[in-house]
């Protein structure tokens, strides 16, 4: 399971567009809409992992195009910080990744999910996942 924190102004709309265009991408992704990736809190990311997420995507606007000017840069810093935290407890930092796209990039969204899905499959299920 991959949790994708998506900005309302870009990636969320891009995911929507990908759907309208019937672009295929791996199904195991759950989208959480944020008003801006600047809303992303490291705690949200950790909560996702604590509840068994295998990977976390954070998808915001193209750099320079944030609706709130700096939000996606703040998100990038937090994603990097979250990577160091994951590393400290022995989880692979590649389980979280930041993506940038515009609302018109339905294909980019599908590619991003596909890439993330491949990365996570390579790493295997999270050791924190609920054991069946």
């Amino acid at each position: 399971m991959i949790i994708a924190f998506c900005c309302h102004y870009c990636a969320y709309a891009a995911a929507d567009l990908a759907g309208s265009l019937r672009i295929q991408y791996p199904p195991g992704v759950s989208v959480v809409k944020l008003p801006c990736t600047g809303k992303l809190d490291v705690q949200l990311v950790l909560d996702a992992f604590e509840h068994g997420a295998d990977g976390v995507m954070v998808a915001g606007c193209m750099e320079g195009d944030c609706h709130y000017q700096q939000g996606n840069f703040n998100a990038r810093r937090r994603v990097n910080y979250a990577k160091t935290l994951l590393q400290r407890i022995g989880l692979e930092p590649d389980r979280i990744r930041m993506f940038n796209m515009s609302s018109a990039m339905g294909k980019k969204w599908a590619d991003a999910v596909t890439e993330m899905d491949e990365t996570v499959r390579g790493l295997g299920p999270s050791p924190l996942g609920r054991r069946a």
């Binding site: 809190d41 490291v42 705690q43 950790l46 909560d47 992992f49 604590e50 935290l85 400290r88 407890i89 022995g90 989880l91 050791p127 924190l128």
Partner: protein, 228 residues
């Protein structure tokens, strides 16, 4: 403000040891604004400890609570029930907060999650610098508002020393020479006369050399004493 840093996770884990029920107590004042031990940091640390325990194959019950000020009894009294349930109390307050908890709850095992560093201020977001060493007898009036006790590596009262070079301290080229700063400031204000006299050695009994310090204000005390 009091500036602190969170201890490395490994150290915190070894302090927690085998304890099953851990209560992380954050503090809502200084250590919140220096992003070391506020509600957010308590939450993050809680998640990390829970996940890391689970990855090692055991579950720990780790709760978090943040009080407005860990260094005052009133705020600590409100969390008595939570403390009573915990095997160990992991304080994210400064050293004062940790001790306040340990003193108020004598049966509780209280451990520090932070290293308390200094009294200082944020120069910019994410950068803090030391400004006062609580020497007990402030001389900022002589030094243009720049503290040579906290900011001169040698705590000189009559500086700069011979190691001052291009405004930097010989101890580390990243440290600004406090005495250069003092000189420049007083020079700009036309008040160099303040440091032309040799300042005699400081009476360190007002500092830590006089042992632990205490302030008593009879005008504020609620207990009526003879002098009052």
């Amino acid at each position: 403000m009091i500036v602190a840093e969170q201890k490395p996770l490994k150290e915190i884990q070894s302090l927690v040891g085998e304890a099953q029920t851990v209560l992380i107590v954050g503090c809502g004042t200084c250590v919140t604004v220096c992003f070391a031990g506020g509600e957010k940091e308590a939450g993050i640390l809680g998640s990390l400890l829970r996940m890391s325990a689970r990855m090692e194959g055991h579950e720990k019950s780790i709760g978090e609570v943040t009080v407005q000020r860990q260094c005052e009894w009133e705020y600590l009294d409100a969390i008595g029930d939570r403390i009573a349930e915990a095997d160990i109390v992991l304080s994210l307050g400064c050293g004062v907060g940790v001790q306040a908890l340990a003193e108020r709850y004598p049966d509780a095992i209280v451990i520090p999650g932070l290293d308390t560093k200094f009294m200082g201020l944020p120069l910019e977001q994410g950068v803090w610098a030391e400004r006062c060493a609580a020497c007990g007898q402030c001389i900022l009036g002589l030094t243009g508002g720049i503290c040579p006790i906290a900011r001169c590596s040698k705590q000189l009262l009559n500086g700069p020393c011979g190691g001052s070079s291009k405004g930097k301290c010989e101890v580390n080229p990243e440290i600004e020479c406090a005495w250069q700063l003092i000189y420049d400031k007083l020079n700009a204000q036309g008040r160099l006369d303040l440091i032309m006299e040799i300042t005699p050695p400081k009476d360190w009994r007002t500092g830590r050399d006089g042992g632990p310090r205490k302030i008593v204000r009879q005008d504020l005390r609620l207990v009526v004493t003879e002098e009052a």
